[in-house]
């Protein structure tokens, strides 16, 4: 699964640590999600999308 978190973080001038704090996870978890090495739960994906005021499918791109 690919994500556009890095792109949205840049748009909002946000660091990984800041995003991690906003959604209640460790910075390393955000790193793993951005690299595609960890698939977040629906709850976490929703929290991340809410931070950027977007839909989940705008942030996370599922490979079919």
């Amino acid at each position: 699964m690919k994500t556009r978190i890095k792109e949205y973080r840049a748009r909002h001038n946000m660091t990984q640590a800041e995003l991690a704090e906003l959604v209640g996870v460790r910075r390393e978890t955000i790193v793993f999600i951005e690299k595609g090495k960890y698939n977040p739960s629906l709850k976490l994906a929703h929290k991340i999308a809410k931070v950027f005021n977007r839909k989940i499918e705008d942030i996370f791109i599922f490979d079919d």
Binding site: G24, V25, R26, T29, F32, Y38, P40, S41
Partner: protein
């Protein structure tokens, strides 16, 4: 407290509690052993509550779940086989029975907990 400070704190508490528990085992003092284990757990949890940053999140839990399941499989099978081997070879038979029975208890506990969580549902 910051996470790094907590790691040092946890290391110190672990070393002290572990040392006390080891001494208790050598001196055959069950009370001291229990106190050291319980005190260690209480102090660790108290320290965890004081940490400002996130220590454990869903990724840590998921990784722990996977590691625990593998450890259970490896430990369960190896203790069962070792116990059966010892009993069969008539060497250290009591230890063999202890290993085999503990392996059975572990499997029963796992089945019980799995059934419980399967019915409860995990959010």
């Amino acid at each position: 407290m910051k996470r790094r400070k907590f790691i040092i704190y946890a290391g110190v508490i672990g070393a002290i509690a572990g040392g006390m528990a080891s001494y208790a085992v050598v001196s055959k003092n069950i009370l001291l052993f229990l106190i050291s284990i319980v005190a260690g757990i209480i102090l660790l949890n108290a320290g965890k509550m004081r940490v400002d940053e996130v220590i454990e999140d869903e990724r840590i839990y998921r990784t722990g779940d996977r590691a625990s399941r593998k450890a259970l499989q490896i430990f369960g099978v190896s203790t069962a086989f070792t116990g059966i081997a010892l009993i069969t070879m008539n060497e250290y038979v009591e230890a063999g029975y202890a290993l085999a029975i503990s392996s059975c208890i572990l499997m029963i506990l796992y089945i019980f907990l799995y059934t419980y969580y399967a019915r409860k549902g995990i959010g």
